[in-house]
């Protein structure tokens, strides 16, 4: 049987004639992750394999499962052209093409990032905060921050000091304000060049993954600044939440639930702000500060 999948009309000219039973049977994949249901459509076997390979990377730590065909809130389509292995790759999100004229690898990275973002924004009863996160003596320390603020570097430094690893991408809060792991590999810059991220397992840093949920201990708002000194400024809960908000993914989508959870986080955590210089030195200061300001005061 020969079939052309019904993708967007402008793509049809470039579509492969897909042959074989398997391809026809699995042209749509459905998954659920944190209560978010997503449908993936592919145009051929290569695209199918790409999706299957990307999903465990985008949504690590067994945080998604394949489900039967169902109503979904989100739809991704991945179009690969085997005649053009350099480019020949496009994807759509909810019917809208994500523009690009870049290499297949770049597009697939964007695809992965969009899947993760979709789940992070729409997760049910969870609040995803873009942050590095570790556990120290049973309590979570999270470091919210945008890319290029040195979040991963500091997370790795904390792991080297013996903290357990939760994530270098998302701190996942439940309704009670406890932190859950998002156990992806660390995306480290500086291996290839200052921009390209290299994925490194936490074990390569001598670290170990944390499992389960953890009460929040500290939120550290910090970013790298050359020659900066460790001068922690304790923020009020309200100002602390305000500082966190630019990194809180679902705040626009569901501000009511998000603020309720962040309020609980702020009541239980100390929220501190400072610039930092060297990550290893800073990690030591973070842990000392955390023990003196958080653990002792909270009876640990």
């Amino acid at each position: 049987m020969t079939e052309t999948f019904p993708f967007h009309s402008e793509q049809k000219a470039g579509l492969l004639q897909v042959r074989g039973e398997r391809e026809n049977a699995v042209r749509d994949i459905y998954i659920e992750s944190y209560g978010v249901r997503i449908r993936f459509s592919v145009n051929n076997r290569s695209a199918l394999e790409a999706v299957e390979g990307i999903l465990p990377v985008a949504l690590p730590g067994d945080c998604f499962r394949f489900i039967e065909k169902t109503e979904v809130g989100h739809h991704f389509e991945l179009i690969l052209d085997p005649a053009d292995e350099d480019k020949g790759c496009n994807f759509y999100r909810n019917g809208r093409q994500v523009p690009n004229d870049h290499s297949r690898l770049d597009v697939l990275r964007g695809f992965e990032s969009q899947i993760r973002l979709t789940v992070a924004e729409h997760a049910v009863e969870r609040v995803f905060v873009h942050a590095g996160a570790v556990v120290w003596k049973g309590r979570a320390i999270i470091i919210p921050g945008n890319s290029f603020t040195g979040k991963t570097t500091l997370t790795a430094a904390l792991v080297r000091k013996g903290a357990e690893y939760l994530s270098d991408e998302y701190a996942v809060f439940d309704e009670a304000g406890d932190v859950h792991p998002f156990l992806k590999t660390l995306s480290v810059r500086g291996v290839v060049d200052e921009f390209t991220q290299t994925e490194i397992p936490v074990e390569d840093f001598g670290g170990r993954r944390a499992h389960g949920k953890f009460p929040i201990g500290m939120v550290l708002i910090t970013e790298f600044q050359a020659a900066a000194e460790w001068r922690p400024l304790r923020l009020t809960p309200g100002l602390g939440v305000l500082e966190m908000l630019p990194n809180v993914v679902p705040v626009r989508y569901d501000p009511e639930f998000t603020l309720k959870v962040l309020n609980r986080v702020a009541k239980r955590a100390i929220i501190t702000k400072t610039f930092r210089d060297d990550a290893a030195k800073c990690a030591e200061s973070v842990l000392d500060y955390f023990e003196s300001e958080c653990l002792k005061n909270q009876g640990f």
Binding site: R96, Q97, V98, P99, N100, D101, H102, D106, V107, R109, G110, F111, S113, Q114, L117, A120, E121, H130, N146, S147, F148, R189, D193, F195, T196, Q197, T236, P237, G238, L239, V241, L242, L245, P246, N247, V248, V249, P250, V251, R252, Y253, P255, E256, L259, K260, L262, N263, A266, K267
Partner: protein, 173 residues
């Protein structure tokens, strides 16, 4: 703008979260968040349409144990105006003083902490994620379509840009 002495706090389109000594307000129309300190929160709650500024001054004094002037309340209302936290903007009255002068005057004498509203515009989720895999900078007609290296920080790219991963045209501005 009305010239009313009885300001009314806006409620519609706001998500309000009471915190121990502050109030966090999220404006779903503008995607701005505001943190009202204890004094600002008290004054905002007192803006129910039945209290004049003079009434509110007295309520603040009673609540916080120190007399405050009307200017103290006007200072808060001035911020509520700017942050669109009132149903209708109210013309503020600083009796010939600039806002800075009022702050200086009140601040020196006040026993009660000055009302402060800290605000922040919440970026969309694309910006929250921050890293673009590769950023196409500028239209070919304007700059030759320069392309930033993979993972470039927004600050390194001239605007306008389009992120292929997100389609966001303002990522790098």
């Amino acid at each position: 703008m009305i010239n009313s002495q009885n300001p009314v706090a806006r409620r519609e389109g706001l998500v309000i979260q009471e915190m121990p000594e502050e109030v966090l307000v999220y404006d779903t129309n503008t995607n701005k968040a505001h943190c009202l300190n204890q004094t600002a929160a008290f004054i905002w709650k007192a803006c129910d349409g039945s209290n004049s500024v003079k009434d509110i001054s007295k309520l603040v004094g009673d609540e916080f144990g120190g007399a405050v002037s009307d200017d103290f309340v006007w200072l808060a209302i001035d911020q509520f105006n700017k942050d669109n936290l009132l149903q209708e903007k109210v013309e503020t009255k600083f009796e010939g003083f600039s806002r800075r002068e009022v702050i200086r005057k009140i601040g020196l004498a006040a026993v009660v902490a000055l009302p402060v509203v800290a605000s922040l515009a919440v970026p969309n989720t694309v910006l929250a994620v921050g890293t673009c895999v590769r950023v196409q900078c500028c239209a070919p007609s304007t700059t030759g379509g320069a392309t930033c290296p993979a993972g470039s920080p927004p600050s390194t790219c001239p605007s306008p840009c389009v992120c292929p991963a997100t389609g966001n045209p303002t990522l790098c501005t």
